[in-house]
Amino acid sequence: MKTFRSPGLWLTLGIVIVAAGFPLLAGSASLREMMFVVLMSVTLASSLNILLGYTGYVSFGHIVFFGLGGYVGFYTMAELGWNLLPATLAGGVAAAVLAFLLGKSILRLRGAYFALATIGINEALKAFVNNFGPFGGPTGMELHFSVYKNYGGATQALWTTYWGLVLITLLVVLTSFLVKRSKFGLGLMAIREDEDAAEVMGVVAPDAKTWAFVLSAIFPGLIGVLFFFKNGNIEPEDAFRLQLSIEMIVMLMLGGQGTVLGPVIGGATYQRVRGFLLTSPIFKNMQLAVAGLLLLLIVLFIPSGAVGWLRARNDTLRRLLE
């Protein structure tokens, strides 16, 4: 397969693998916790990229899939006694189904209307879960500590969760690449550039957009389950955090939307910067303001993000970076 000879794919996968391997080499739990946040950001940004970067639809409420997936997976573990693996898959499926149903309705909206609708859906689902008895209402659900025994104790469970996340991150990078290089992806990019012209050329935009939305929803759904499993409890305020939704967009724009490497770089950089800001008392309460300012600066000065900017420099970089 010629497609797999792309240096850009291997470069991106290599970066993820090397970064993900550090905590193991160092045997360090704190390094692992740091990388967990980084990889989670990379996955969120990469999955959003399939919708925003390739298809051109800005989803402001994308975190709804993380929250819903987290809730459904958590419910199967806490209430039905499922294992982490099937629970994670259930979270992914739940997110995909929601995206499919939404895709048929709200993807008809364009531009700002679509963006606003996604925020509305996140808030609506948060309100629903707040009042939904089986999910524990406003107080959410907890995992009994003994659950972790099934995974060889709490420490081992944390490592297992971490490797699950690494696997999902590699999968999302691979998916993002394969979509970009496929006929399906070409259709998405045609929609991004001019949806009406794309339809005139035969692209079945309603279907293509729906599948892009579904793909971009699955991964947040999967990692929502891992995140809350590790967390031990889940609450509406944590699951449907609009702030994280906005940060996803910042990470993606920072690294470069429409590229495979961009969300990886953007997610990692943003989380490192944020980690630094959190330790500084002056910035601690201004994270969102900083994120907003950053987004503004990116849109004004490097609208194609770091990787997009580099790719536009010369042909070698264009070939090397995907």
């Binding site: 006929k183 070409l186 259709g187 990019m189 001019d194 009406d196 012209a197 050329m201």
Partner: protein, 247 residues
């Protein structure tokens, strides 16, 4: 017949942009569609290609009723068009633009075969040297060719050309006309909207004239050019009418 329109009407609020238009186009012919600005020519293309839904009437393409088809359905059946105001996919390369046409058009090719067809078509319309640049960086004449290339890459049965000659200089017009003849030789039927009279009159097998949305005349280029109603309604001024007759 490749295309038949029966009493096609399109209204925008109170404005009737296309008014009860009927005509038919035999396979393999070039039909010239002329009329003053605002006559409803582009709107008629939008009605045929499924971009607008009709207020009333019927569109039959290749024995199939496509009146309620979406643009992509019409494309899959073998109908392709260009846009008067060009619509390049700016951030994609020229090759990718043309590949979209081949991928999603009538023959529904995979990427590899579609890219091969794109290369062939780019050479045919003379864009091969620009294949790897972004479509947004082309000049107007090249963008018009790109519109044409994308439409051709779909391997359509019927091609709708909306003012592909407008804004081109004399030699570019000559090249484009040559390309249009070659397309016809491939057996593709064409409807072309055009303002450059000598071009339409030379190229078309048949001409129809729209004025305020109504079809006011049809026939051979010669017959239409001499039709007093056309001269009066279409051109409005005697000098221009003389010019039409000279051409």
């Amino acid at each position: 017949m490749i295309l038949e329109l029966k009493n096609v009407t399109k209204q925008f609020g109170g404005l009737t942009a296309v008014d009860n238009v009927s005509f038919s186009l035999p396979k393999g012919q070039i039909l010239g569609l002329i009329g003053p600005n605002g006559a409803g020519k582009t709107t008629l293309f939008n009605c045929i290609s499924g971009v607008y839904s009709l207020t009333s009437g019927q569109v039959i393409f290749n024995q199939q009723d496509i009146t309620d088809c979406k643009p992509y359905h019409a494309a899959h059946l073998g109908l392709a068009r260009t846009h008067q105001i060009v619509r390049p996919l700016n951030e994609l390369t020229v090759r990718e633009n043309v590949t979209v046409g081949a991928c999603f058009g009538r023959e529904d090719h995979g990427l590899v075969e579609a890219t091969r067809i794109a290369d062939e078509i780019m050479e045919f319309v003379g864009l091969e040297e620009r294949a790897d640049v972004l479509a947004g960086s082309l000049n107007v004449a090249q963008k018009k060719r790109l519109e044409m290339a994308r439409a051709l890459a779909a391997r359509p049965y019927l091609l709708l050309l909306d003012e592909v000659l407008a804004g081109l200089n004399l030699s570019e017009v000559a090249e484009m006309l040559d390309t249009i003849y070659q397309i016809q030789e491939k057996g593709i039927s064409i409807i072309m909207i055009e303002h450059i009279m000598h071009a339409v009159m030379n190229v078309s097998d048949h001409v129809i004239v729209l004025n305020y949305g109504e079809l006011i005349a049809e026939g051979t280029p010669e017959a239409v050019a001499e039709n007093p109603q056309v001269i009066e309604a279409y051109l409005g001024s005697p000098e221009l009418a003389d010019k039409l007759l000279e051409d």
